[in-house]
């Protein structure tokens, strides 16, 4: 029982980071109709930028963290402006190819600047674990969940209550009607990419602190696919719940199944879920069935 609890906790930690990255992915999909295959690389870039600021430029961690968010937002803005905006109205397949290309470019850029070696963050959070009843939780896990939850909360409130957030949801709902309200759809697209880059960067920094940093962090980002398919491609709450579930499933697979089969299930399970969900519930648990028309 304690073992299961322990697994679930680490599942929630990782799942909350998936949730964060999935939120960005869904946001771009909802607002602009684009499937962003570069979402994982946003995470990689965030992790490396923050690490460089902390380790190479000796910034205090909190400052580096904030600075990385600014860099991420600028990157999102730039990508939308330079790469995506000229593609408005082009066939969806071209736009998907573009995001795949973008992911290679970002990965290549990171390789060029920082090289292929594994790196680790200097120790930022105390390593003294915290005991909660029978379970032991490392402090970095607590911080990580706390941060992921904080950002999820901020954006949930943003979409619910701020005028910009409501305008974004309106645009996702009916683009032409949004234009007729005087909403600048271009600005909404830009904002979607900025927010997606920002939440992914936060995710990257958190994962980087837990697992270390290397060029394959982008694979971590790939896990958003099972998460968003599970939750429904166009549902933000779905993305959050999907992320958490995938995180927990992974942890359970790692704890119970991997010892029996000699490992690997942890990596496979999310994608098995993806296939099953696509077969039995193609719109996920919270997605709109209308989605096919898009």
């Amino acid at each position: 029982m304690d073992f299961l609890l322990q697994l679930l906790i680490s599942g929630i930690v990782v799942g909350s980071i998936y949730a964060l990255v999935a939120l960005g992915f869904v946001l771009i999909y909802k607002a602009t109709g684009v499937i962003n295959f570069a979402q994982g690389e946003f995470l990689t870039v965030g992790a490396y930028v923050c690490l460089a600021l902390v380790a190479q430029l000796q910034f205090p961690f909190w400052l580096a963290f904030l600075f990385t968010l600014v860099v991420a937002v600028l990157m999102g803005m730039l990508i939308e402006r330079v790469a995506l905006r000229p593609m408005i109205g082009e066939p969806i397949i071209s736009i998907i190819m573009l995001t795949i290309g973008l992911s290679s470019v970002l990965k290549g850029g990171v390789m060029m600047i920082w090289g292929p070696n594994n790196r680790a963050y200097p120790q930022i959070f105390s390593q003294v674990p915290i005991h909660v009843g029978p379970v032991v939780i490392s402090q970095i896990y607590l911080w990580s969940v706390g941060f992921a939850a904080l950002f999820l909360l901020i954006f949930t409130l943003f979409f619910k209550f701020s005028s910009a957030g409501i305008a974004m949801r309106a645009t996702a709902d009916d683009q032409q009607a949004a234009l007729s309200m005087g909403i600048s759809v271009k600005k909404v697209f830009g904002m979607a990419w900025c927010i997606a880059a920002l939440v992914s960067a936060v995710g990257g920094i958190l994962v980087g602190n837990i697992n270390g940093v290397n060029i394959s962090l982008g694979f971590f980002g790939l896990k958003v696919f099972p998460a968003v398919i599970l939750g429904g491609l166009d549902s933000i709450p779905g993305a959050i719940i999907g992320g958490l579930i995938i995180g927990m499933l992974e942890a359970i697979a790692a704890g119970y199944i991997d010892p029996l089969v000699g490992g690997g299930m942890k990596e496979v399970i999310p994608f098995m879920v993806l296939v099953v969900i696509l077969m039995v519930k193609p719109y996920g648990f919270f997605g709109t069935e209308e989605i096919e028309k898009v």
């Binding site: 005028s163 683009q175 032409q176």
Partner: protein
């Protein structure tokens, strides 16, 4: 001088499809002007040319111009045009289905600078449409057609426009509701001093609340006049009001015959 004037415009979709061929109309401040015509005549295109929404559909004003309060607006973005005081209530209501009633109204006021008054104006909209007030937290997509039309008009009120463009607000509504909606359009015109350009299929009702009417066919105006004159015009009676001299209903199938006669008349 008119609040809005459309001068001899030509509109082309996708660089090839010529839809408006020298369309002109004038909307004086404070009035209700109605634009009538059969399906496909180009009424919606005219409204979208004014509101700037054409550009999002690959349509373009290629000749003529549109002025609002003396300024040429046909090259501006939809966003700027809304900010300058023109608001289009689109055909088919187009409410934001996933948003609540209140959120839809907030989006209506998106371009307003005086954000402090949003709350007050939501109450103003609720006073026009008490039914929306009862449903203020409901997700708009689940409301009935009539309620959605009320919301679409309420959303326009939130923008406090000088000129409201309405595209077939009666479409698909039960007769009683249509009457209610038209009464509210009249009230908005009187109480909010909003000038209205009303596109309608329901010529009968539209001519009764409007001051002036245009009838268009194949991309241009073919008849216009004070609504009292139009209501008494035998051609209009026969083909747009659906009443011939003997008072029986006629259908649009007769429009062909009408065109033939028109040519002969001119």
């Amino acid at each position: 001088m008119s609040l809005l004037s459309v001068n001899n415009i030509e509109v082309i979709y996708n660089d090839v499809i010529l839809v408006l061929k020298g369309m002109s109309l004038d909307v004086p401040e404070g009035k209700i002007v109605t634009l009538l015509g059969a399906n496909g005549a180009g009424k919606t295109t005219t409204l979208k040319a004014i509101s700037g929404l054409l550009k999002a559909e690959d349509g373009e004003v290629t000749d003529g111009n549109i002025t609002f309060m003396g300024q040429e607006i046909n090259k501006r973005d939809a966003e700027d045009i809304v900010k300058s005081g023109i608001f289009q209530v689109m055909e088919g209501r187009r409410i934001f289905k996933e948003l609540t009633v209140t959120e839809n109204l907030i989006v209506g006021g998106h371009t307003r600078k005086d954000r402090g008054n949003i709350k007050r104006d939501i109450d103003m909209v609720f006073s026009y449409f008490p039914r929306l007030k009862e449903r203020f937290r409901q997700v708009a997509g689940y409301m009935s057609g009539g309620e959605q039309q009320m919301l679409a008009i309420g959303r326009a009120l939130m923008a406090k426009p000088r000129l409201m463009l309405m595209d077939e607000p009666s479409l698909g509504l039960a007769p009683l509701l249509v009457k209610e909606i038209f009464e509210i359009i009249e009230r908005i015109n009187k109480e909010e001093k909003t000038t209205i350009l009303l596109v309608e299929q329901n010529a009968n009702l539209a001519l009764r609340i409007a001051d002036y009417g245009y009838i268009m066919e194949s991309g241009k105006v073919m008849m216009d006049g004070d609504t009292t004159d139009l209501l008494n015009n035998p051609d209009v009676k026969e083909f747009y009001l659906g009443l011939s001299d003997v008072g029986q209903k006629k259908s649009y199938r007769d429009v062909k015959h009408y065109k033939r006669r028109k040519r002969w008349l001119s």
